[in-house]
């Protein structure tokens, strides 16, 4: 790195362009990481917040609540597992309109029983046990919903007052509204509920023969992570984001590779000179890749910082973004790794440069 460091210090202008491009890629990739996190959170934060370890669905429903209908026997089968906690959960989407003047909102209505382990806080249990009402995700307050607003839930004919707000999060990009399970059943099925609900949320001890219970209960068990896949749009969004970020990484690697190749061609005579002075190809390659790595690391750091600033500035706006240091840092680390991989492109070219070039002689 003797030469690389001094070259960077004294000819930094030459590296501005490639540094700027890598930094821009880093900005974009950081913002996309924020958007991806935001979308994921928007889609599944309500589920992530709930303290269940797995969920039993109707077989073939693919973790989609609206396709899954279970009844009492399934719940019983899971409740009978020694050491397990099992509770019914009803989930459906409704459009809620307020005749009392509140804003119209889309809601993911979650029906839970008052004694459910899903209701973690005392006030929540009390609200679920008392006269029927809505406990809404705190985000709805920002939309202008007030305690005491009355909401008509879809075409069900059920009207409920807003009892309070909680950090319920959202599901399928809709804020969650908690209601007692019985109320949910009348929203979803009217007077013909027959004890139906969507799924059984579980806290299972280790070593349970889940296959046997699934068979007896006629259910399909999904891990907590797998339940996110059922959130509307979740899989497609994740795939889209992953693809865009993948392309960005490939582009970044190619840019670094192309730049370093051009640089190598420009330096052919200098590399020949170094070799004539006794430097091995490994020495020249270490020096060159060290230089590219320094540029990529510097540019990525700058770009990531700018990207993080943009995410923080976008927070609270209409785009769902989330700032998670973990994913920002891992996206930066990935960019650095592919940048260094990209700088391996002219390796052969460097190896093939003959020291005789220093004398202008082709051998």
């Amino acid at each position: 790195m003797f030469l690389a460091i001094r070259d960077l210090r004294r000819s930094w202008r030459r590296f501005i362009l490639v540094g700027a491009v890598v930094a821009l890629v880093a900005v974009l990739s950081t913002v996309l990481a924020g958007l991806a996190d935001g979308l994921v959170r928007d889609g599944t934060s309500g589920l992530r917040a709930l303290p269940y370890s797995s969920m039993a669905f109707e077989p073939g429903s693919g973790a989609v609540f609206s396709r899954s209908t279970l009844t009492e026997p399934a719940l019983q089968a899971w409740q009978n597992v020694p050491g397990a906690k099992a509770t019914p959960l009803g989930v459906s989407f409704v459009n809620a309109t307020s005749p009392s003047g509140g804003p119209s909102i889309d809601l993911a209505v979650f029906g839970v029983t008052a004694d459910s382990f899903l209701a973690q806080r005392e006030e929540a249990r009390a609200a679920l046990a008392g006269p029927p009402g809505l406990v809404l995700a705190a985000e709805t307050r920002d939309l202008g919903v007030k305690i005491g607003d009355i909401y008509d839930l879809g075409a069900s004919g059920v009207s409920l007052p807003v009892l309070g707000f909680t950090f319920a999060g959202s599901y399928g990009h809709a804020p969650i509204g908690y209601v007692p399970l019985a109320t949910w059943q009348s929203i979803a099925y009217g007077n013909d509920a027959r004890g139906r609900f969507s799924a059984v949320a579980l806290q299972l001890p280790g070593g349970v023969d889940t296959a046997a219970i699934n068979k007896a209960a006629h259910t399909e068990l999904k891990s907590k992570d797998a339940t996110y896949d059922g959130s509307p749009g979740y899989t497609a969004e994740s795939l889209t984001m992953t693809m865009i970020r993948g392309f960005l990484l490939v582009i970044s690697a190619l840019i670094v590779g192309a730049f370093f190749t051009v640089l190598t061609v420009q330096r052919t005579r200098q590399i020949g000179l170094l070799k004539a002075m006794g430097a091995s190809s490994a020495y020249v390659i270490r020096d060159g890749i060290g230089q590219m790595a320094a540029i990529v690391i510097g540019a990525t750091a700058v770009g990531t910082a700018i990207g993080a600033g943009i995410i923080i500035a976008l927070k609270g706006g209409s785009a769902p973004v989330a700032f998670s240091p973990d994913s920002v840092l891992s996206s930066a680390a990935l960019l650095i790794v592919v940048g260094i991989i990209g700088s391996l492109v002219p390796l052969r070219r460097i190896t093939n440069i003959e020291p005789a070039i220093a004398l202008g002689v082709e051998s």
Binding site: L3, A276, L359
Partner: protein, 244 residues
Amino acid sequence: MTNEDITARGAVDAASSGLALRDIYVAVSDGDHSRIILDHLDMVAVPGEVLVLTGGSGSGKSTLLAIAGLLRRPGGGHVFIDGIAATELSERRRTALRKERIGLVYQSANLIPALTSMEQLELVGHINGAKRADSRRRAARLLADVGLTSRANALPAQMSGGERQRVGIARALMAEPTVLLGDEPTASLDPELAAEVTALIADQTHARGLATVLVTHDDAPLRRADRHFHLAGGKLHARELVGD
């Protein structure tokens, strides 16, 4: 042929230090037929002498220098550096031999634009894995030898052609070589500076006991030559020395 072979080996023994080329043959394919560049050429440069090579363009001067500097292998024949038969060595050993025993001075100095005079010299130490302090000390002494102490922190772009070439000479001397090869070292200099640079090379050659070979088009090196050969038709022809 056999007779020539014997005299060649005898002469090599005599030149157990310095540079000796024996029976060097180089041909390049030029379309359908091959063109002979160096035709069974012999050359000896002994310590403490400046040997000057002239020749028309395309006569093979640079090729000869590249072969003598172990930068390329000849089609046939042998190169001896201080009596070591370099042509029989592996590429790795040749590189090591070049690092330790051969200093190269290039046309227009061929300095690295990003490095100061001091660092041009230090780089040689860095490549050779020498201790930083040692190479700094040696570099400072060599810069003083070529009269450039005050320009130690100047970049090539900040120096004149003559200064650059003096740095180039100091750099060539960094690894304490026994053989010094110059490729048109005065080509880009005006006559006055050319004389200065040549004098420096000649003085260092005599002071350090180097076997020096200079390839040139210019008159300046000829005035300080101990021997002069002209390369034509792939052979060396001895020439009279021009007096000062």
